[in-house]
């Protein structure tokens, strides 16, 4: 049973949470204070003890309210706020309400706050307020205690509904509290255990209150009190609702239940059927916390049975592993588990990574053995198992990043982890979450290199958004980062070069670029040559690719500068003036250092344009003249295909569009907001892209040559860099 009390300690307002195991027998209760300051909480826990409430439990809520309301000042504030709430809802009017409530007191007590978003003052839905409301307006719950789940739904909805059709109360805690009250009253009056009620909450009509029910049940079930079996059954059913809210509610309840009766907990662990795996794990976890030795004996005997292994694997890490022998013993038990059973196989990674994470001592052998268990599983793991391994690694990554990421690298080689699967965000499998926890960039770069080799030319920075962000904001020196990236970009292996160039495109800040330029100048000519070849091997707008290479146009080695300039001349034929603009801007920013190059590019481009003019005058060559039918048909099909691809790409990305409702505007003028006069011209949109001219000239050969150039191994393919560049 949990009671709440508002008190003032050392001049601080505090909320006291009183945990009562058995009101009739316990004479003193512990106090924990909900302070932000942990030192103050500790002090309270060690020194403050309050007399136990000895009165029978039927009026515990009003009793608590009395406690709250005994503070006159607080009482007054609460009443004022409550009357406003009844009248208008949660929003306060700074002018109209100023005279009604004590504004400073309310702010001090954190009963009101200013909402930056709506620029309005609102009532804060906290416990004080919730209790006041209960004391004031809730209909007399006792007079119509529900006798069925349907009645419960009806009553709950009616008492939590605001007046004037303002909807359901926004005060979550208030609603929760009302549900707790109702469950307590129902149990008090009829002895109802809710065993029959809970399955009925599955039905669609009343499932709208099932989460409120779950939360309230988990709060009060052990205090009502209900028997452990009923609670186990109820919680088992809750898990079928498949909601994230279940774990944080059920977990504490079971822990309390176990704490109340170890024997009963042990009996349940042993007696509950196999399909109650989660409940058995929870009971075992609780037992480990409360009575580890009893739990250890149970684990050692029970793990022999194949059916028991999975629930034990879910809880075994809760033991304190301060001794090596116990840890090794636990690992031995884990290793004994039968990996042929699917559910067991899925839980081994969970257990092992947590064993490693919770280790209370340093033992390289133990750590290696743990990771070896996973290394043995990974190569041939089926997809669900591989997924479990990856999810489990989040437990070990902080403590053992190197071993963890090494194992993640092994996962990349698993044939079931395809790139398509990784790219599909619906699969909920991501290395990004793991890597972002790693602070050592060498480990991250090694993994990326591994990734680049496993999925050639498929490194997509969107798959590693968080990690890339981490790298960019890394505390490591920019110089070091630049060098690492340049090393990748000029790598002999094409797949790694691709990775380097893709990563480089994420770095847009000026300090990084300045450092990059500096490092560029210090490179040997062959590396400089390789660098521009590598960066320009990927088709990208000159604005994003060329900017990295501009210092090479005045490289000391003439071959490097001349070769790059020749390449830029070629690029003007695809990207036109954009190339010249980029070079010209750089030149202007650097005291005209590249004026000769700019003039040469302009001359080349002018002669290219002159040639185009000659061609464009021959209208007989234009497809609209000489191939009109085919031209129109192609454009229609191609446009349709492009739209389809863009839509698919957006849908697969599961980006912002996946959260938005899809609305098709019947007319094309734009989107007008109903209440504001804003108009968004989203009815139509247009996108454009630059298609390299070389690709249009000979698409298949361009693709093939690009692939070959990308994949070229500059070491084994005997590229003639040494011959080209005389150092």
């Amino acid at each position: 049973m949990t009671l709440f009390l508002g008190v003032t300690i050392d001049g601080f307002q505090a909320m006291i949470l009183i945990q009562v195991r058995d009101l009739s027998q316990v004479s003193k209760v512990n106090i924990c204070a909900l302070f932000d300051d942990p030192r103050r909480s500790c002090k309270l826990l060690s020194e403050q003890v309050v007399p136990c409430i000895t009165k029978q439990p039927q009026m515990i809520f009003s009793k608590t309210e009395n406690e709250i309301l005994s503070d006159d000042k607080l009482n007054k504030v609460l009443k004022s706020l409550f009357s406003i709430y009844l009248e208008k809802g949660m929003i306060l009017d700074k002018i109209a309400d100023e005279s009604v409530i004590d504004w400073d007191e309310s702010r001090g007590l954190e009963l009101i706050s200013f909402d930056e978003l709506t620029k309005k003052w609102v009532i804060v839905p906290n416990y004080f307020f919730a209790y006041t409301v209960l004391n004031g307006t809730i209909p007399d719950l006792r007079s119509k205690v529900p006798s069925s789940v349907e009645q419960l739904v009806e009553l709950f909805e009616s008492v939590t509904e605001l007046s004037d059709e303002k909807g359901r109360t926004g005060i979550t805690l208030l609603a929760d509290r009302i549900m707790e009250l109702l469950l307590a009253l129902i149990h008090e009056t009829s002895g109802e255990t809710f065993s029959d009620w809970i399955p009925r909450l599955d039905s669609e009509r009343i499932s709208k209150i099932n989460l409120e029910f779950l939360q309230a049940y988990c709060k009060v079930a052990d205090t009502l009190p209900l028997c452990a079996s009923d609670i186990a059954n109820a919680c088992h059913h809750f898990f079928s609702w498949n909601d994230l809210i279940i774990w944080p509610n059920v977990n504490p309840l079971i822990e309390r239940v176990v704490g109340q009766d170890f024997k009963e907990a042990e009996r349940l662990i042993l007696d509950l059927p196999a399909e109650f795996r989660i409940m058995r794990t929870l009971f075992l976890s609780g037992l480990i916390k409360h009575d580890p030795e009893r739990a250890w004996l149970l684990v050692r005997s029970e793990i022999e049975l194949v059916d028991n292994q999975s629930y034990i694997l879910g809880a075994i890490h809760h033991f304190e592993f301060s001794e090596q022998s116990r840890a090794f013993e636990a690992l031995r038990l884990v290793k004994k588990c039968n990996l042929g059973i699917e559910v067991t196989r899925h839980h081994v990674p969970y257990a092992v990574t947590r064993l490693v994470a919770r280790l209370g001592f340093e033992d390289v052998t133990f750590v290696d053995e743990c990771f070896q268990v996973l290394k043995d599983i990974v190569p041939s793991a089926d997809l669900p198992t591989a997924k479990q391994v990856l999810l489990s690694l989040s437990a070990s990554v902080e403590k053992y990043p190197s071993q963890t990421i090494d194992l993640a690298g092994d996962l990349l080689k698993n044939p079931n982890i395809t790139y398509e699967y990784l790219a599909d965000q619906k699969s909920l499998i991501s290395f990004d979450a793991l890597l972002e926890e790693v602070s050592d960039l060498n480990i991250v770069f090694d993994f990326f290199q591994n990734f680049a080799l496993c999925y050639p030319f498929k490194f997509d920075r969107d798959l590693f958004q968080e990690t890339m962000y981490q790298i960019q904001s890394s505390t490591e020196s920019i110089d070091g980062l630049c060098k690492k990236l340049i090393h990748l970009i000029v790598h002999d292996v094409g797949e790694v070069r691709y990775l380097g160039v893709e990563m480089l495109s994420c770095f847009k800040n000026q300090p990084f670029r300045d450092q990059f330029y500096q490092n560029l100048a210090e490179l040997d000519p062959i590396s400089q040559y390789k660098l521009w070849m590598s960066i320009l091997s990927l088709e990208a707008s000159p604005k994003t690719s060329l900017v990295w290479l501009l210092p090479l146009l005045h490289a000391k080695n003439e071959v490097v500068a001349e070769a790059l300039l020749c390449k830029l001349e070629e690029l003007t034929e695809s990207y036109h003036e954009e190339v010249i603009t980029v070079v010209e801007r750089y030149s202007e920013e650097n005291a005209g250092i590249l004026m000769t190059a700019v003039v040469r590019l302009k001359t080349h481009y002018a002669s290219f344009c002159a040639m185009l003019d000659i061609k464009n005058n021959i209208i007989e060559f234009h497809p609209s003249i000489c191939q009109p039918q085919y031209y129109d048909r192609f454009r229609e099909l191609h446009r349709h295909r492009m739209n389809e691809q863009i839509n698919n790409s957006l849908n697969n990305r599961q980006g912002i569009l996946s959260f938005a409702k899809k609305v098709v505007l019947v007319k094309g003028g734009g989107w007008k907001h109903r209440e504001r006069d804003e108009v968004t011209k989203l009815g139509r949109f247009q996108s454009s892209y630059t298609w390299p001219r070389l690709h249009l000239l000979n698409p298949e050969r361009f693709d093939l040559e690009r692939k070959l150039a990308l994949a070229a191994n500059w070491q084994s393919d005997k590229t003639d860099f040494d011959e080209w560049i005389t150092v």
Partner: protein, 566 residues
């Protein structure tokens, strides 16, 4: 619209050079004149006020020498400016009078009375009439001067050409007007023009009706000229290519059908049409060849991804027509057999250089998308290897060209998963390229192109690439075939000029290749394909067959290819 108005509108838009002076002879022929000199024949020489010289009867039937000075375009009206200009009307008429014209081919030519004519597709300005009349009465006191102005020309063209042949009934009249209206419209398939040509050819008089026969032929050529000049006015000659190709091929087909290919009067008239067609192509290639030979000159810059198809299609079309033009040019200007070997060798040298430049500049010239692209490829190869002097470099170029085509076939197969389409219907190919997905009706299971390329490689003794190509083809399921014309059941020559040939071919399928090119040469070298004796060749127009193959997309016959290669 009244016929007169249509004709008047057409005539008044003609310029002098190559337009009015090109069709005026047709009118004279239709009127029964004998034309002795035309601007086309005296190109580059001073005409001394005699653009056209002809012999013909006057209104009383008495034969005269007609010396015609033609003024069109900006000079089409008679006013003080056009009259007194340097090389203006006054100067031309005085020159015409003062400079004698001699023609030994016509007996008693010198004895015939002379009529001086000013032919212009405009009017005389009223404020200048008196001056002009005074000049005429002083210069030509015998009254031997006639002025053929726009009204006169409209009337005569209507009477002798349009009314008699072109627009004798409502159906043809409607077709003619539609041609004039639609010829330069995008997407116009020239169905009216084709029908009109067919109708005219169906009514072609027999040679014994001399004047009617001549005027009917003149009308056909005039029709071609009308289309040409309409397209020229729009600065877009492309629609005229198809129209004039059709006119020429359909006319020759009619001659073959009626077995008139040995009739001298017919071939003489047909030769005029060939000349007109050639002149048109000369204008087309003069306009486009420099641009086409620029780097990727045939690539349309603003057409975007369509150029994956558009560029190769356009390049092969250009190449095929160019080879025909080159072949025909050997016979120009008389289109009779010439013994001028020196000129032929010189021409062939120029042509080969241009072909090499064109192919080197345009990668799409060696990127076949259709199996029928074997036609322009083989036409090019036949032309180069059929020249009187074939150098080592020529043979190397041809070999490299074949390898380039095979290489492109393999690249497209590896990247896009397709071989050249065997269908002439482009839609499946378009769908394939536009969507990157193979449509159900895309067909590339067989090929005539690849075997013919392999055959040329073997004959050029490029054994290594031959073996490489076969190795690259070893895992493909493509069926190699050879199309042989069925001369037993069909008159192949007539069919060649009729339409695309399909059922006229017998197919040897599932060709298998030995391990080496040498073995292949041994196995196939002695094979003799039937040599067809072409009436077209005998009549002196062998080059027309190339145009027929190119235009109707009918594959070259193995016997002809083998003959060229040998």
């Amino acid at each position: 619209m009244d016929n007169g108005l249509v004709i008047r509108e057409y005539l008044e838009n003609l310029t002098e050079d190559q337009e009015l002076d090109a069709i005026l002879p047709l009118l004279l022929i239709a009127k029964g004149f004998r034309v002795l000199a035309t601007p086309a024949r005296s190109k580059g020489q001073s005409q001394y006020g005699k653009d056209i010289v002809a012999i013909g009867p006057d209104e009383s039937g008495k034969l005269h020498r007609y010396y015609c000075e033609v003024k069109g375009g900006r000079s089409r009206h008679v006013d003080d400016q056009t009259f007194y200009d340097n090389d203006g009307i006054r100067m031309s008429l005085l020159e015409a009078k003062d400079t004698p014209f001699r023609h030994a081919g016509v007996p008693a030519f010198e004895k015939l009375p002379i009529k001086f004519v000013l032919a212009h597709n405009g009017d005389i300005k009223e404020n200048f009439r008196q001056t002009f009349d005074g000049f005429i009465s002083n210069t030509f006191p015998d009254g031997n001067f006639e002025r053929w102005d726009l009204d006169w020309l409209t009337h005569e063209f209507d009477r002798y050409l349009f009314n008699e042949h072109l627009i004798p009934n409502q159906v043809d009249s409607r077709l003619f007007r539609r041609v004039l209206l639609l010829i330069d419209t995008t997407d116009y398939n020239q169905v009216d023009f084709r029908q009109l040509v067919k109708n005219l050819l169906a009514r072609l008089p027999e040679p014994k009706h001399k004047r009617k026969f001549k005027s009917a032929w003149a009308t056909l050529i005039l029709l071609g000229r009308i289309v040409w000049s309409k397209c020229r006015q729009n600065d877009n000659l492309y629609p005229a290519i198809d129209a004039l190709n059709f006119l020429l091929l359909e006319t020759w087909l009619e001659i073959l059908r009626k077995k008139l290919d040995t009739a001298k009067s017919v071939t003489t008239e047909f030769r005029r049409m060939v000349t007109m067609h050639f002149q048109f192509l000369r204008e087309y290639f003069k306009k486009t060849s420099a641009a086409a030979a620029l780097p990727n000159g045939l690539f349309a810059e603003r057409a975007g991804p369509f150029e994956a198809i558009g560029y190769p299609m356009r390049s092969f079309e250009y190449l095929g027509l160019l080879v025909y033009y080159f072949e025909a040019s050997h016979w120009f200007p008389t289109f009779r057999k010439t013994a001028d070997v020196k000129r032929t060798v010189r021409l062939q040298g120029v042509h080969k250089r241009y072909l090499k430049k064109l192919i080197d500049s345009n990668s799409a010239c060696q990127r076949p998308l259709l199996d029928s692209h074997s036609i322009p490829i083989l036409a090019t190869i036949n032309y180069i290897l059929g020249c009187k002097q074939v150098s080592k470099a020529d043979r190397k170029f041809v070999g490299d060209y074949v390898i380039g085509n095979l290489d492109s076939i393999f690249v497209i197969r590896d990247v896009s998963g397709r071989y050249p389409s065997i269908s002439l219907n482009l839609n499946p190919l378009i769908e394939y390229v536009a969507t990157s997905e193979r449509p159900y009706n895309y067909s590339d299971e067989s090929s005539l192109l690849i075997p013919s390329l392999l055959d040329i490689l073997a004959s050029l003794k490029r054994d290594r690439p031959w073996a490489d190509a076969l190795r690259l083809l070893s895992d493909s399921e493509i069926d190699f075939q050879l199309a042989i014309p069925n001369t037993v059941e069909f008159d192949i020559e007539e069919r060649l000029f009729t339409d695309h040939m399909d059922e006229e071919f017998l197919i040897e399928s599932s060709i298998e290749y030995p391990a080496t090119a040498e073995e292949y040469r041994e196995a196939t070298g002695n094979r003799i394909f039937e040599q067809i004796t072409y009436r077209t060749d005998k009549a002196g127009f062998p080059f027309l067959r190339t145009l027929a193959h190119v235009y109707y997309k009918s594959e070259f016959f193995p016997g002809d290819v083998r003959a060229s290669l040998s």
